[in-house]
């Protein structure tokens, strides 16, 4: 005889799998739509023939322009949006669980500002400090600098939360303050730099998918997959942690080690993407929240669910950004600021007792 709890649990699990499958289908559909959308007109069958041509290695029958647009321009950009959405979403979900605070995300913790300072440093000073690095590799210097600084800021937050506790006030205020400090650094750099570099910094700060190319995808994909698998493997521990440090310790979770490693890996995921795209705010905050509403807070399902949501939100926003004012494109970072700001506001207003404690 089955008991009602089993039924309830299994029904819940089934529902969660259905939801994840639906999101996957939705994401696949969006990817295909995004491949079609743009100022260069392509029919779905043309897109399909390019894709199948590339996969089978039979590219001779394709129109060169079709192939360039689909395979060299649109596909890497779409993949970058998807990977960035996934990375920021899982980073946000895991950071929220680790610091036991639902308002935490790579963006609200100041990681983005810190990473942007790193990138700006590399843009402005890179060539002067590292004259022997060929221009081709300057991009990687930017990426590395953004990553290191992003990491530093999370280390700082981690230190503060250990000394002062991880209440919303402490974490968010620390994030804001760290953000200000690094923004000051960015302003100084902007002030002293010339026109060309100024534009580069500004573009980076607004955040967008124009850094997309196959090299970026090759760098990000393995990191993103490994980070996802690692963080997903922490699910049970994260679940236990959400009931409190003491209960987690009682059920054999090494809390300090878990926090440190979890933050390290989620920061890695987030900052590697940010380094290529520039600042993309709020994805890491929105995706987990929508995910929790849809699928509940069991991290085994929440992490993949918010990863898919993050990818979906960012891909749709980016496609919107590059097609709405065609041929001019709006930086997707700007759109995310808009949507995310409103979302954050809603959280504050409706969530008095539930989210913000």
């Amino acid at each position: 005889m089955t008991n009602p709890t089993t039924d309830l649990y299994q029904a819940g699990t089934r529902k969660k799998w259905i939801l994840i499958t639906l999101l996957m289908i939705l994401l696949t559909g969006s990817v295909f739509y995004a491949l079609n959308a743009g100022s260069y007109q392509l029919s779905p069958s043309q897109v399909l023939s390019v894709l199948s041509g590339v996969i089978t290695g039979n590219t001779e029958t394709l129109t060169p322009n079709d192939k360039i647009v689909v395979f060299d321009f649109r596909l890497p950009r779409i993949l970058l949006a998807v990977l960035t959405g996934i990375s920021l979403a899982i980073a946000g979900t895991v950071m929220q669980a680790l610091l036991r605070n639902p308002l935490v995300s790579p963006f609200t913790l100041g990681l983005s500002s810190a990473a942007s300072f790193g990138a700006a440093c590399a843009i402005v000073l890179g060539a002067a400090w590292l004259p022997y690095i060929a221009d081709v590799y300057q991009n990687y210097v930017i990426v590395t600098a953004a990553f290191i600084l992003g990491w530093l800021s999370i280390l700082l937050i981690y230190g503060i939360s250990r000394v002062k506790g991880s209440t919303s006030a402490t974490l968010i205020l620390s994030g804001v303050v760290i953000g200000y400090i690094f923004q000051a650094g960015v302003m100084i750099l902007k002030y002293v730099s010339n026109n060309e570099k100024l534009r580069e910094i500004t573009l980076w700060l607004m955040g967008g998918m124009w850094g997309a190319n196959w090299n970026a995808i090759i760098v990000i994909t393995p990191i993103c997959i490994i980070c996802f698998l690692y963080l997903e493997s922490l699910s049970w521990d994260l679940n236990a942690l959400s009931a409190g440090d003491d209960i987690a310790k009682n059920v054999d979770v090494r809390v300090e080690k878990l926090r440190f490693r979890g933050l390290l890996v989620s920061t890695l995921a987030a900052s590697v993407c940010l380094a290529f795209t520039g600042i993309i705010g709020f994805i890491g905050l929105m995706a987990p929240h929508i995910g929790r509403m849809l699928i509940g807070s069991d991290n085994r399902y929440l992490i993949p669910c918010s990863a898919l949501l993050g990818a979906l939100i960012l891909l749709i926003s980016d496609t919107f950004a590059r097609t709405i004012m065609d041929p001019i494109e709006i930086p997707v970072g700007v759109i995310m600021y808009l949507i995310g700001g409103v979302f954050f506001m809603i959280l504050i207003l409706q969530g008095k007792h539930r989210v913000i404690t």
Binding site: T5, W236, G244, D246, K249, N250, D252, V253
Partner: protein, 254 residues
């Protein structure tokens, strides 16, 4: 399940909370820990649960030193219900009670796991709330959910830190009866921190009376909770009323 604590010292920073505590827990008994606020009761429980690291002294669990017991093993043998608990955002009652199975599962839950969770929910009368969000519950209901979580963990020893502080008298009795059942019929041991002297007197097999980080007395309730000792530790004049139903300990209104 036996525990032997010798010369245990625990500090928060430079403040020593437990001073050379010696005590023991026997197989299948309800051991109540009583004492005024700040006397070190919760600290003792946390040290036993492996949450706080002692400065010195030893804790022997089932004959082996607690330091040598893996966290995994400890998670299976000791279940802890903290005094205050908070939950991150939303979770359903079911999700929270499922956490109790954490030390027993690696990834997915079996039929057995779910049956255990079911009986935990049933014992605390919260089956109907399984799908409710934890944030929508009252303080007392939430307390029961956390007790159910510990039940689902199926440990040999339960450490309850004031498990009934938010419950009404009916549910307080239910929880203590449940503890008695765990001890008498399922061979578990229970160590419970409690403020209500009458519950301690009525339900415990043995009592530990603590004051200012030390153990004042330990033994059967009628020997430890004497008029003189209770008055001197709590600094409240007491009245002991013996009835056919047993002894009642009451403060004397002055």
């Amino acid at each position: 399940m036996t525990i032997q604590v010798s010369d245990l010292c625990v500090s928060y920073g430079s403040f020593r909370v437990l001073k050379d505590v010696n005590c023991s827990l026997e197989n299948s008994e309800i051991l109540c820990v009583i004492g005024p606020n700040g006397s070190g009761k919760s600290t003792l429980v946390k040290a036993l649960a492996g949450i706080l690291t002692p400065d010195s002294g030893t804790i022997i669990i089932n004959g082996s030193d607690a330091d040598t017991i893996s966290g995994y093993e400890r998670g299976r043998t000791i279940g802890y219900v903290p005094q205050d608990f908070s939950y991150l955002t939303s979770a359903t009652v079911l999700e929270l009670v499922l956490l109790g199975r954490r030390p027993h599962v690696s990834w997915s839950l079996s039929e057995t796991d779910l049956a255990i969770v079911y009986s935990a929910l049933e014992q605390l009368g919260i089956l109907g709330m399984a799908q409710k969000n934890i944030t929508a519950l009252s303080g007392g209901e939430r307390q029961k959910v956390f007790i159910a979580r510990a039940l689902a963990q199926e440990p040999e020893l339960f450490l309850f830190d004031e498990p009934t502080s938010a419950l009404d008298i009916r549910h307080q009795i239910d929880v203590f009866e449940m503890m008695r059942d765990l001890v008498r019929h399922k061979g578990r041991s229970v160590l419970v921190v409690v403020h209500d002297l009458n519950f301690a007197y009525h339900y415990s097999d043995r009592v530990i009376l603590m004051d200012e980080g030390s153990i004042v007395a330990t033994g059967p309730p009628d020997q430890v909770m004497t008029h003189d000792l209770i008055e001197s530790v709590y600094h409240v004049p007491m009245q002991y009323v013996d009835t056919s139903q047993g002894r009642y300990i009451m403060p004397l209104w002055t």
